[in-house]
């Protein structure tokens, strides 16, 4: 369990500037590698999104059509989910969990390094599929058979096989990571840090890891069967030979819905860390926020078939999945109201992390409420697979997850690198992204209701269709500019070293990661204070203030 690789003395090539990153088993460096890699893919996946919005800006556009468009939409979805949101959260978790619980490192540092390198490999394999025979996978990120089968008019060639291989590698990476997080959180908390004194972000990661363990095997099984169908002539999902497509749908969504909460629960945790610090208050109802996390995780495993309301399930099943999906709105609502109550009578400081956290609440609320329409299955029969759904899940995954992790980046950047990101550029980043996001995705609700289905490379209608599509495409351009501002900010702070040096605790925060230096030494802490509440650093500040001078 000892941290050996980051020896205090030079021991040869392993201490080189590049080599030290290649051989590192330090959770902080692995976390930073995860985050950096995910951000590169965020830009790559974003470029794919811009290509799609370019194609859809006006009717009958011919810039990116048919199979190319289908490849781009498949790669955009798969990249954003598997190479951006899940791994960037794993990156935050790697960096933060040991620091927040006062540990020296993760429980299994080498396994941790393996998780990262598998993630990188999985991503490279996915993107190599552009060069595969027959082009990249083009059956959508859920790859329903028989479109994903190795048939001449479905998915011949090897793009789909690369997609399957990539997801297998990424699944292995996530499973190893999840085991590591669970063991670390259960065994390595600082003295006095009971479950009810644990930072809420760590609660988020605990549930994230458990959901990964429970949900990912269903995905592995589904895509293994698909691979067998494609390569060795089985017919699990080929109805003409006795297979069942609906079976695949069940297997995929049994993973696919918990997946949504895998991508958002850690972000809930980040918001629960950021809001109190910038409101100068404790989080409102710690227990309610922690237990609602568990409630959401539990119910997230009982709602998968709400993705299948148009499959023609028996009405009893549709009813069950409607009610379970609505139930999940209750713990989510608890969180939203508790967060808002956290700002009540606070001393709100609008630094960039706070802006992103408040933006998160505003946008995630929208995504949650539009989800209620989709849970009501007869209404879903109208909205399913239309642009309304595209708008809904972008409000959840971009307005939610991405705004959350950008807030997290601005908040923890000084701890990671010892320098603050620039506040002025940060605020530009936030406002451009907030405006661009709403321009892009708000009109998509209307498009869906007007009858525009998703995953089409073009449309023939003028009028409102054209207006809303144009607004949406312009918005995506604004989001691209916002991302450029962020890149400039990072460049300025870390490469040009113009970022303001941060002390241990620039935000006067509450949790243990701010107890050590910025950036922390390889062993994290020389000593860890005994934890007596969820806010050990505030306790410490108060004890210092009370001491006679």
């Amino acid at each position: 369990m000892a941290v050996r690789s980051e020896a205090a003395y030079p021991v040869g090539w392993k201490n080189g500037r590049v080599a030290s990153w290649l051989v590192t088993v330090d959770h902080k460096r692995i976390g930073i590698l995860y985050i950096a890699t995910s951000l590169v893919w965020f830009v790559a996946g974003g470029i794919l999104a811009i290509l799609m919005r370019g194609q859809l800006a006006t009717p009958n556009e011919t810039f990116l059509t048919k199979n190319s468009y289908n490849e781009v939409l498949t790669m955009h979805g798969t990249t954003m989910i598997f190479l951006v949101v899940i791994p960037i959260l794993a990156g935050f978790a790697n960096f933060l969990v040991p620091l927040m619980i006062g540990a020296k490192d993760m429980a299994f540092p080498r396994l941790n390094a393996l998780s990262y390198w598998l993630f990188l490999l999985g991503g490279v394999v996915l993107w190599l599929s552009w060069f595969a025979k027959g082009g990249a996978a083009h059956a959508g990120w859920w790859s329903y058979p028989t479109l994903s089968e190795n048939f001449p008019f479905a998915s011949p060639g090897n793009g789909q096989d690369y997609w399957i291989l990539s997801l297998h590698i990424l699944t292995l990476s996530s499973l190893l990571g999840a085991i590591n997080f669970i063991v670390t959180i259960h065994n390595m908390r600082a003295p006095g840090m009971t479950w009810m004194r644990m930072p809420l972000f760590v609660w988020g990661i605990e549930t994230y890891a458990i959901l990964l363990l429970v949900a990912l095997p269903a995905l592995s099984a589904a895509i293994t069967l698909l691979l067998l169908d494609r390569t060795v002539g089985t017919h699990f999902f080929i109805p003409s030979q006795g297979g069942s497509i609906v079976l695949y749908q069940h297997m995929f969504w049994f993973f696919g819905h918990p997946e949504v909460y895998i991508m958002v629960l850690p972000v809930f945790g980040m918001i629960s860390e950021i809001l109190p610090v910038f409101s100068r208050k404790p989080v409102f109802g710690y227990k309610a926020v922690a237990f609602s996390t568990i409630g959401i995780a539990f119910f997230s495993m009982l709602v998968w078939a709400h993705h299948m309301f148009t499959t023609g399930l028996p009405v009893g099943l549709d009813s069950f999945f409607m009610i379970s999906s609505m139930v999940i709105a209750v713990p989510t609502g608890i969180k939203i109201f508790n967060w808002i109550a956290t700002t009540w009578r606070g001393n709100l400081i609008f630094d960039t992390p706070m802006l992103f956290a408040l933006g998160f609440i505003a946008l995630f609320t929208m995504g949650g409420l539009s989800g209620i329409f989709l849970a009501a299955f007869p209404v879903d029969w109208q909205l399913n697979n239309s642009y309304y759904v595209v708008a809904h899940f972008h409000y959840v995954l971009f307005g939610g997850s991405a705004f959350g992790f950008f807030g997290g980046l601005y908040y923890w950047w000084p701890k990671m690198f010892g320098r603050m990101l620039d506040e002025r550029l940060g605020k530009w980043h936030f406002w451009l992204l907030f405006v661009g996001f709403n321009l892009t995705f708000l009109p998509q609700h209307m498009l869906g209701l007007l009858g525009m289905v998703r995953r089409v490379y073009t449309y023939h209608h003028g009028g409102l269709w054209e207006v809303y599509n144009m607004i949406s495409s312009v918005g995506s351009g604004v989001m691209a500019v916002a991302t450029l501002v962020f890149i400039v900010n990072v460049w300025r702070t870390n490469v040009l070293r113009k970022g303001v040096r941060a002390g241990n605790d620039p935000w006067l925060a509450d949790t243990l990661e701010w107890y050590t230096t910025s950036p922390p030494p390889p062993h994290n802490f020389d000593s860890v204070p005994y934890v007596t509440s969820p806010r050990p650093l505030r306790d410490l500040r108060r004890r210092l203030a009370e001491q006679p001078q």
């Binding site: 109201f337 001393n347 109208q382 697979n385």
Partner: protein, 329 residues
């Protein structure tokens, strides 16, 4: 204040931008104007949910903005703490219970509307149609008709009649959706799904709603609900137009309206168009080879339909290659 002002400006801009264009139709703020009872009842459920969610949205967002404005920093130091409130059990119970009540109302209303959405009204003689999704067209079989009438792309029904759809597919998943006539239902290989509507007079458009391959975006569907006479006229004369329907609804998608080529090769000069036998085997088996791939689009067509198509393309599409040309492309 820093946050409020741009929000307000933004809200006003969005409101102006959308209000103008929205005045024309429902503007995309509700489902497409229904023309069938199931769509009407779905729309009712939609508006009930919209009522509740809009109220919650306004409540949450205005609380957020009010607190942001009221408890803003105002030059206080970061070291100044806000009220150290750790929670309030009764308040938290209220905002747990209230959503439960609202969701129960919504679910109750959905169940109340459900029978009218799911089940067709009892009709003396509903019209039975088999809808087959096919890469990349919709095929309609009028199973009640004497000679198994068929149409491609457009479904002809009498307005006011209850139409029972049996939705199937042989190749990949498609999804049937005419927004004005109710919700979606997937056409899944190996399964038979059902959908119904009772259309008011008019013509209604929709398209396939499940990614089904390269031409997913072109897989349009239309329902023409006219008089009983028009319906019977179609059933009596479908043979005369099926050749043109197949060309327009199936072949032209890839080969262009005049066979000039597009996604697929130009075929207007190809002499296969004049050879009924070769044409039929290509349509039945598809093409896989160095020239490219063509799905077996016609694997469920009868020989009468192939005859009609062959006659149509020979007469209207085929242009003999100019003398001296060596290749038809």
């Amino acid at each position: 204040m820093r946050r409020k002002l741009p929000s307000l400006v933004f809200a006003v801009l969005v409101a102006l931008a959308t209000a103008g264009v929205a005045a024309a139709a429902n503007g995309g703020f509700g489902p497409v104007t229904p023309a069938s009872p199931n769509a009407t009842h779905i729309q009712r459920a939609y508006y009930l949910i919209l009522g509740f969610t809009a109220a919650i949205f306004v409540l949450v967002e205005s609380l957020l903005v009010i607190f942001i404005v009221k408890y803003r920093n105002r030059g206080r130091s970061r070291a100044v703490e806000g009220a150290q409130v750790h929670g309030h059990t009764r308040l938290e119970l209220i905002w747990t219970a209230l959503p439960v009540v609202i969701l129960a109302i919504i679910a109750g209303f959905v169940f109340y509307e459900l029978p009218n959405i799911r089940s067709a009204p009892a009709a003396a003689n509903p019209i039975h149609i088999t809808v087959e999704g096919h890469q990349y067209y919709w095929q309609f079989d009028y199973t009640d008709s004497k000679d198994q009438a068929r149409s491609i792309g457009t479904l002809h029904v009498p307005a006011g009649a209850v139409v029972d759809l049996k939705v199937v597919s042989q190749d990949v998943i498609h999804s049937w959706w005419i927004p004005a006539l109710g919700g979606k239902i997937q056409a899944i290989p190996g399964r038979i799904n059902h959908m119904w509507f009772q259309a008011q007079p008019g013509s209604y458009e929709g398209q396939c709603a499940e990614l089904c391959g390269a031409f997913h975006a072109s897989m349009d569907a239309a329902v023409q609900a006219g008089s009983q006479q028009a319906y019977e006229h179609y059933l009596a004369t479908w043979h005369d137009t099926i050749g043109r329907q197949i060309w327009n609804g199936v072949c032209a998608t890839c080969h262009g309206n005049l066979g000039q080529g597009g996604y697929g090769p130009a075929i207007a000069n190809n002499s296969v168009l004049t050879q009924r036998g070769s044409l039929a085997s290509i349509l039945h088996d598809g093409v896989t080879g160095s020239q490219g791939v063509m799905p077996p689009v016609g694997d469920t067509w009868t020989s009468a339909e192939l005859d009609a198509l062959a006659a149509y393309v020979k007469k209207h599409i085929y242009k003999a290659a100019p003398v001296g040309a060596t290749s038809g492309g």
